[in-house]
């Protein structure tokens, strides 16, 4: 059952900020359809790692090999900028913690969803709009709100709009940075259910960075625990959470309120 190639292979990825370690020697494979969670407290290096993988930060060393549709596995870090940007708006998606970082607040919801389509060459207004309506409904936003601006939406709706905007081009890999952060608990639940459904329907692979262990328990197949820029433990999600081996993971798990 392991004959497929991994969709993403991260190899010894390291990034320092001067003398301070951002993340060091991180390696892992992500297979198609798999969701990996990266947990750790603030400053553990999880966001640095995500930014390095997604191309927002240039790592000092390492490789991020993605299995491209056209040419098979390629190191994203050695791609040319146009190739990398093309990848970022077709096969990759990035869901920011703050929807304001991931949305264009000055244009309508429909334009937000349609942007990636237009960026890859869609030039038929009616079709772009139809796809935008379809995606709004898939993320449970009423289609008649298509011409409203994101400002008029609640936080949960903005986050769902961000997801629609990212998934409209049918990406294969989604990076998520604290996707449920800043949302009410009941809104989080709806978002989690939505993401689970989309991951399954679209066969998405995802990398989710969060400090919320409840989120990864429900969404992630696998878990990496980071501390001080290093991966201290990794494995099956319920194994890491139910039988943590590393002192830090034990502390992290025991610090969570049981619900």
């Amino acid at each position: 059952m392991s004959e497929q190639a991994p969709l993403l292979s991260v190899r010894e990825l390291s990034k320092s900020y001067g003398a301070r370690r951002g993340c060091a020697d991180v390696s892992f494979d992500l297979w198609p359809g798999e969701v990996i969670g990266i947990v750790g407290e603030s400053g553990s290096g999880k966001s640095t790692l995500l930014a390095c993988m997604a191309g927002y930060l240039a790592p000092d060393a390492g490789a991020v090999v993605f299995d491209t549709r056209a040419e098979g596995p390629r190191d994203v870090l050695s791609m040319s900028e146009p190739e990398r940007r093309m990848l970022a708006r077709t096969d990759w998606a990035f869901v920011h913690q703050n929807p304001r970082d991931g949305l264009r607040m000055g244009v309508s919801a429909g334009a937000n969803v349609g942007e990636r389509l237009m960026a890859v060459g869609a030039r038929h207004y009616g079709q772009i709009r139809a796809q935008a309506e379809d995606w709004l409904e898939r993320v449970e936003i009423a289609a008649e709100r298509i011409d409203e601006r994101p400002r008029q939406f609640s936080g949960g709706m903005q986050q769902r709009l961000q997801i629609a905007r990212n998934l409209v081009t049918g990406p294969r890999l989604v990076f998520m940075d604290e996707p449920t952060g800043g949302l009410d608990v009941s809104v989080q639940a709806r978002l989690l259910d939505l993401m689970r459904g989309l991951v399954r329907q679209m066969g998405l692979s995802a990398v989710i960075v969060t400090h919320d262990l409840a989120v990864v328990r429900l969404l992630a197949d696998r878990l990496m625990v980071m501390k001080d820029g290093l991966v201290v433990e990794e494995g099956l999600t319920d194994q890491v959470l139910d039988d943590p081996q590393h002192a830090y993971t034990q502390l992290l798990v025991s610090s969570v309120l049981q619900v």
């Binding site: 942007e115 237009m118 207004y125 009616g126």
Partner: protein
């Protein structure tokens, strides 16, 4: 008036601007930075266009200056006087007689010909600024030809107004490569940008950019397959010369709501009237 160097600018500056112009011609639609000088007029009065004109002028040139198509408005008159004084070149109001035409917000109605130069005054050269305020990012988008954002603007227009409501400064793509702001000309004039026998130069003084459309270059107005570009004008004929194919200004004539439509291109209108054409207010009524 030998106190001024020919056409006001010193020769070193003109050489610098000419180099920018040559680069702009070589890369159609690309915004070439240049070291814009202080000019003896405020920004917004055509400082970019004036510098481009100054760098192109020769003593035997014949200059025409128009503002919204008219030769007789303040901006046009003062720039024309400026060059009469600093370069002592001949001036004309006849489009066909001019070798260099500096324009604000219009392309003349009369077809331009080879050898002519049309110089546009440009307030904001960056067509992507509406949605992406970071200059570093818009330059990268031009470099990588990532122009999805332009269509985003048109999408918003249709979503909001049912059609592409942008009626001036309508974005174009030059020679299949760079997306360009044609300056705030009405979209009625956009088709004249393409395959034009004259050289078209664009100068933005405050923003320090020069760009160009060389003669006979394809210029396409951006649109959607199901919402194609349409060059529009007021659905009237000129009340003075009767032309129903030229771009019109609407003029309010009293406080009772009376109005008239007249050609915005004064030379075009005058030439037609001299040739005997009449409009609704100049025919039987006159």
């Amino acid at each position: 008036m030998n106190d001024y160097n020919f056409a006001y600018l010193d020769e070193g500056t003109k050489r610098m601007i000419r180099r920018a112009i040559l680069k702009a011609v070589a890369v159609p639609g690309y915004q070439v930075p240049f070291a814009s000088r202080e000019m003896p007029m405020p920004y917004g009065w055509g400082t970019g266009g004036v510098q481009v004109t100054a760098a192109c002028l020769r003593p035997d040139d014949r200059l025409k200056v128009i503002d919204q198509g008219a030769d007789d408005t303040t901006n046009a008159v003062s720039i024309r006087k400026f060059f009469q004084r600093t370069a002592r070149v001949a001036t004309t109001e006849r489009t066909g007689d001019a070798t260099i035409i500096q324009t604000r917000h219009r392309i003349p109605e009369a077809p331009l010909s080879e050898g002519q130069i049309l110089v546009y005054q440009v307030p904001i050269p960056e067509p992507l600024r509406f949605l992406e305020p970071r200059e570093t990012e818009t330059r990268r988008m031009h470099a990588l030809q990532e122009y999805g954002l332009m269509h985003l603007k048109l999408y918003e227009d249709i979503a909001r107004h049912g059609e592409i409501a942008t009626s001036y400064a309508y974005p174009v793509q030059v020679s299949g490569r760079y997306v360009m702001d044609p300056s705030p000309i009405p979209k009625f004039d956009n088709p004249k940008l393409s395959n034009c026998p004259a050289l078209q130069l664009f100068g933005a003084g405050r923003e320090q950019r020069i760009y160009a459309v060389p003669p006979y270059t394809q210029v396409i107005s951006l649109d959607f397959e199901d919402h194609p570009f349409v060059a529009t004008k007021a659905p009237h004929a000129c009340d003075l010369c009767g032309d129903d194919g030229s771009y019109l200004d609407e003029v309010i004539t009293d406080d009772a709501g009376r109005r008239m439509f007249i050609c915005s291109d004064t030379d075009h209108c005058n030439s037609r009237r001299a040739a005997g054409h009449v409009g609704a207010l100049t025919g039987d009524a006159a």
